[in-house]
């Protein structure tokens, strides 16, 4: 089951560049939450702070509190532990090129020392089914490399890989921006299914996508969270002039 996320006074820097300014919000469990905003507004940095990926950048720095379920992720646990609970899907599909489809999905478990064949088989099948890829790849799980799939399939493979470690939260950083409309529709259908089991945070440039998949939407601008509310309200009756300007296409 998913868990809620609570962010208090989050600030982030790249070197001397202050990219996130005092972010506060509560993301409810088992919902999809969309983050929109123009390029460079900090939304990607924000999701990378939710699984401590931001600090893998040598000049990245974070202050503030992020609670995922009962866990204060910057105090109570190591980055490695956090990233097992908070899965991430990146903008460009990034399967491990030398691994088979099976090994790609099993990688999160295998690389952490998990070796039980029978359980791995089950996890791989379940994850691929949850990512709506099973039917397309079940016959060459171990024969084909992950990199030999189409872009849309690769992205679903990456989702399956993230699901295989059984996270509580799934972060998606523009998961469909490199995909064609058919693959995008598949990913969106998938989000509907996945939010029954996971809490989903999705960064997107596509406002229709946010409106379609997300219960709540946050609007970022210049490193600040301008507005955060139920999606319907953001798109029909925004509380802030800047949000209205953005969603009506007056800038950005």
């Amino acid at each position: 089951m998913g868990v809620g996320i609570e962010v208090v006074a989050l600030n982030a820097w790249y070197g001397s560049n202050h990219t996130l300014l005092d972010i506060n919000l509560k993301i409810p469990a088992n919902e999809a939450t969309a983050l929109i905003g123009p390029s460079g507004c900090g939304k990607s940095t924000f999701v990378r702070c939710l699984n401590r990926m931001h600090e893998t950048n040598p000049v990245g720095k974070v202050t503030g509190t992020v609670r995922i379920g009962p866990l204060d992720i910057y105090k109570d646990a190591s980055p490695v532990e956090i990233r097992r609970r908070v899965g991430m899907v990146f903008q460009r599909p990034n399967p491990f090129p030398t691994m088979s489809i099976y090994d790609n999905v099993a990688s999160g478990l295998k690389l952490n020392g998990f070796r039980n064949r029978r359980v791995l088989d089950e996890v791989v099948e379940r994850s691929l089914k949850n990512a709506a890829l099973w039917e397309e790849v079940k016959d060459d799980l171990k024969k084909k490399s992950g990199a030999s799939l189409s872009g849309g399939q690769q992205q679903r493979l990456c989702i399956a890989r993230a699901l295989a470690v059984d996270p509580e939260v799934l972060l998606m950083d523009e998961p469909a921006s490199a995909l064609d409309p058919v693959s995008t529709a598949k990913i969106e259908d998938l989000i509907f299914e996945l939010k029954k089991q996971y809490t989903i945070v999705i960064v997107t440039h596509n406002m229709q996508q946010a409106a379609r998949v997300a219960e709540r939407t946050g609007f970022f601008l210049s490193g600040k969270l301008v507005e955060f509310d139920v999606t319907h309200k953001i798109f029909t009756n925004p509380g802030d002039k800047r949000t209205e300007d953005y969603i009506t296409g007056r800038f950005g």
Binding site: N51, R83, R85, G87, F90, M99, S145
Partner: protein, 294 residues
Amino acid sequence: MATTPAVYRNSRSNSVTRMVTDHLFTGLAILSTVLVVAPLVAIFCYLLYKGASSLNLAFFTQIPQPVGEPGGGMANAIFGSGLLLAVGSLLGVPVGIASGIFLAEFGRGSALANAVRFTADVLNGVPSIVMGISVYALIVLPQKHFSAFSGGVALGIMMIPTITRTTEEMLATVPNAVREAALGLGVPAWRSVLSITLRTASPGIITGCMLAFARVAGETAPLLFTAFGNNFWSHNLNEPIAALPLQIYIYAISPYDDWHRLAWAGSLVLIVLIVISVALVRFVASRGTLKANN
């Protein structure tokens, strides 16, 4: 009637020019390829011509005969070369790969990494005879005797810079997205480097190792004051040992015709053994790896 756009009006003469240019450059590319491959083929053919006639079973099973006695072989030198290269690889491959990993993954931009990279480049330029003298001073003199061990160390040190730099370069070609994917799954950094990044870059790294291996396999100078050479069988790392390049050198500068023939045969065997070992490693390494395009 539609008028032809100006760009296409001279299409006939254009296409002729294009065809000529196309053929010209294709021809140049083929010529360059031939120029690159020709010396290798020429050397190999000449070695076959000069050396093949002296090759027989005895060459691979017997040790050298005293001057004037017919026959004899280089069995001890072939074994010696194998032992020296094994010791060299045991030292050079792990140290080279580990320092390459440090340069590419952990030390990026640090002062220590820059120093290591600079040292590796300088080491790569050190003449092999100097490497021999250095190891002579460091190992042979304190031990007061020549040894297979010191020869292996000299070869190993010579392998390090090539392996370090290719490992670094190959790791740098692994997209950052692959590293992030591993970290994002909650895989510890060291594990991600060993199981993901290194594995993704492994074809290039293996090429680097084989390049270094093939290069030192033919080295004579670093062995002159270390492995020294030996006319008899030796399996002992603490004793002087024969090596193919050394034996070829001794036979080639001798005044005897039958020794010259043996030197040619030795050269042929050396090249063939290098080719076989490189091919073998490639074959073993390619098994079980899935290519991205299949």
